[in-house]
């Protein structure tokens, strides 16, 4: 302790910062090396990046951006896949490829909105319940969490979505109400371990505030599992969102939700198979991408709890 306090001024504050920056860069380099060692993780990352870029620039990269909404062109309806229409056209003549790319926008925003609604309260409750382990706060929070986890998530999300007006935002709300307990449980498990670690105890002895202990000592140590779970959950939330749209409780036509398109296309099986099949495969690709990425992150952080 005394050695370090004499060494520090001689090195100078700038030099310390530089050292810190270097070690951080080194850590990133090492992490990337480890991550890129598994080709599946890299494929996952590439898929996710590609889909995000396609979704952002959808109006510029799709051949018929006007087909994303209520558009009809009966002369070109029911065309099988061809060079002009990669995924064919639907029953009113809209390009299925264009609509699928636009569909990614709804899926991604579903995932992003749900996770940003779910993670802060879920994590906060987990931190509090874990830190006050064994008290009534712990009991109340974790019993409520149990109740939510004891119900099949899809059915309650459906029930909530069904009493609200069916649209994208309400389906996000419904899924969010079902999703927070997973984060509470994850962070709860981590926090109950960490409250007995030396760094927490020493912070307590030094008289640090509860706020400091929860958010500056414990939370930073939970960040990598949380991020890993988020990347895995992106896939699952998108899947549930697509399921809600599929039954008519999510994105409403003529908006091109992937699940909505599959549901409408399913009526024209088997003759017009492309209308349902390509959006369905698009769901598989986006969920697969986030899963591969999440698995890669999990291996990287060796976060086995998730």
């Amino acid at each position: 302790m005394s050695q370090r306090s004499t060494a520090m001024p001689s090195l100078g504050r700038e030099a310390w910062r530089e050292m810190e920056r270097n070690s951080r860069r080194e850590n990133w380099g090492r992490a990337w090396y480890k991550f890129s060692h598994n080709p599946l993780s890299v494929i996952g990352l590439a898929t996710v990046l590609l889909i995000v870029l396609l979704a952002i620039f959808a109006p510029f990269v799709t051949p018929y951006p006007e087909h994303a909404g209520p558009f009809t062109d009966f002369a070109n309806a029911k065309q099988p896949p061809s060079l002009a229409h990669l995924f064919g056209t639907d029953v009113v003549g809209r390009d299925v490829f264009t609509r699928t790319i636009f569909g990614f926008r709804f899926s991604l925003s579903m995932g992003l909105v749900v996770l940003s609604l779910v993670v802060p309260p879920g994590v906060l409750l987990g931190l509090v319940a874990g830190y006050y382990h064994g008290t009534w706060l712990d009991t109340v929070i974790m019993r409520i969490t149990d109740i939510f986890l004891a119900v099949p998530p899809l059915i309650l999300a459906l029930a909530i979505a069904s009493v609200l007006k069916p649209n994208l935002f309400n389906s996000m709300l419904a899924v969010s109400l079902m999703w927070w307990p997973w984060y509470t449980r994850l962070v709860y498990g981590l926090t109950t371990q960490m409250r007995n670690e030396y760094f927490t105890t020493s912070a307590e002895i030094m008289g640090a505030s509860r706020w400091h202990i929860l958010f500056r000592e414990i939370l930073p140590n939970c960040v990598s599992p949380i991020f890993t779970k988020m990347s895995l959950d992106m896939g699952w939330v998108i899947l549930i969102g697509a399921s809600l749209s599929f039954v008519g409780l999510g994105v409403q036509p003529p908006k091109p939700g992937l699940g909505t398109m599959v549901a409408n296309g399913a009526r024209y099986l088997p003759d017009l198979w492309w209308i349902a099949l390509f959006p369905a495969l698009a769901i598989v690709v986006i969920v697969l991408g986030f899963n591969l990425l999440g698995d890669g992150l999990r291996d990287l952080f060796a976060a086995e709890e998730i």
């Binding site: 409520i144 109740i147 004891a150 899809l154 309650l156 029930a159 979505a161 598989v284 969920v287 697969l288």
Partner: protein, 342 residues
């Protein structure tokens, strides 16, 4: 004694969860804008009819009192009349439940048998090409939603190959077997109608497979991981060193402890299968409780929605208890610690 204590503890916990679920459902059914009495009476009913109905439905009481009335009826299996069809909801549920249960049963058998065998094969050939192929298959299985599998199987088995029928539980013209259990394949066997049995069996394969794919892939992954872990343990090496035949090592000493994680996930998946069934039921036009529930949800038929969710929730919770008991039977350590209340 310890086992009994374990079951009692588990059941007590489940009752708390069930009560919590019933509160959530009750709240959902009451936050909907609009007057349930008005919906039930119809838009053109005179005000005094609606007022009487409000009194009759206890809608003028405070919410906690309403909840107690609602719960008392629900426990007795009385969910009232459907607000849309005016039919008795409990009877509807009794009619549609067996179809979904049968579907889930077949899906459960498929995911247990195929999932565990695929996982065991992959573990035995760890890090070979077989293992890699299995890994890709299970990845695809996990990330593909059941309604996509449904469409794929419909296209392949139903239309392209023409092996399996595409819609419903029976071919048109084939009479439904007399109702004993409500499960067509079982009833047909009990009454000795082999033709009906084959027809019902053919109808159930594609939807059950579509429903099972996701969980099956997960079972395979979990079984493989658990077996691979245990394979590296000392007791397996000891067994082999003692000259115990490889088959016995594999099937007796390796498989049983490795099944613990699989069984816990399997039970949860089976219960979730009941509620995920609606995605598949919609595509195969399967007259089950999930499809009934979806229609109720789209029409905002509150009594029916509440009943469907409560029934599926009970199935989920009962399955959870059964799983815990099965796991405890496989692993004495869990049984002991749970009885001690650790």
């Amino acid at each position: 004694m310890q086992t009994v204590l374990f079951i009692v503890r588990r059941a007590a916990h489940s009752i708390v969860v069930l009560l919590g679920l019933s509160i959530v459902i009750f709240v959902i059914s009451r936050i909907l804008p609009g007057d349930p009495a008005r919906i039930a009476a119809g838009a053109r009913a005179p005000d005094w009819v609606v007022n009487n109905l409000r009194e009759q439905m206890h809608l003028n009481d405070p919410l906690p009192v309403q909840y107690v009335y609602w719960l008392r009826d629900a426990v007795q299996g009385n969910f009232g009349l459907s607000l849309v069809t005016r039919r008795n909801v409990a009877q509807d549920i009794a009619e549609f439940f067996p179809a979904t249960f049968e579907l889930a049963l077949y899906a459960g058998v498929i995911m247990a048998v195929l999932g565990i065998s695929l996982g065991a094969i992959a573990a035995r050939h760890k890090d070979s090409w077989i293992d890699n192929v299995m890994r890709v298959i299970s990845y695809l299985g996990v990330v593909t939603p059941s309604f996509v599998w449904a469409i794929i199987f419909l296209l392949i088995f139903g239309f392209t190959l023409g092996w399996l029928p595409t819609l419903g539980r029976l071919t048109e013209g084939v009479p439904a077997p007399p109702r004993i259990t409500g499960l067509y394949t079982v009833d047909a066997l009990l009454t000795g109608r082999m033709d009906v049995f084959w027809d019902a069996l053919k109808h159930i394969i594609s939807p059950a497979l579509a429903l099972a794919m996701g969980s099956m892939a997960q079972q395979a992954r979990i079984t493989r991981a658990a077996m691979a872990d245990n394979l590296a343990k000392d007791y397996i090496a000891a067994m082999r060193a003692l000259g115990v035949p490889e088959r016995v090592v594999m099937n007796k000493f390796l498989l049983k402890p490795s099944l613990i994680p699989t069984v816990s996930i399997l039970g949860l998946d089976f219960a979730a299968t009941m509620s995920n069934a609606f995605l598949v039921e919609l595509i195969f036009n399967w007259p089950g409780i999930s499809r009934y529930g979806i229609n109720a949800m789209l029409r905002k038929d509150l009594n029916a929605i509440a009943a469907v969710i409560l029934v599926l929730g009970v199935v989920f919770i009962v399955a959870n208890i059964l799983v815990d008991m099965a796991v405890a039977a496989l692993d004495p350590r869990i049984r002991l610690s749970a009885a001690r209340g650790v």
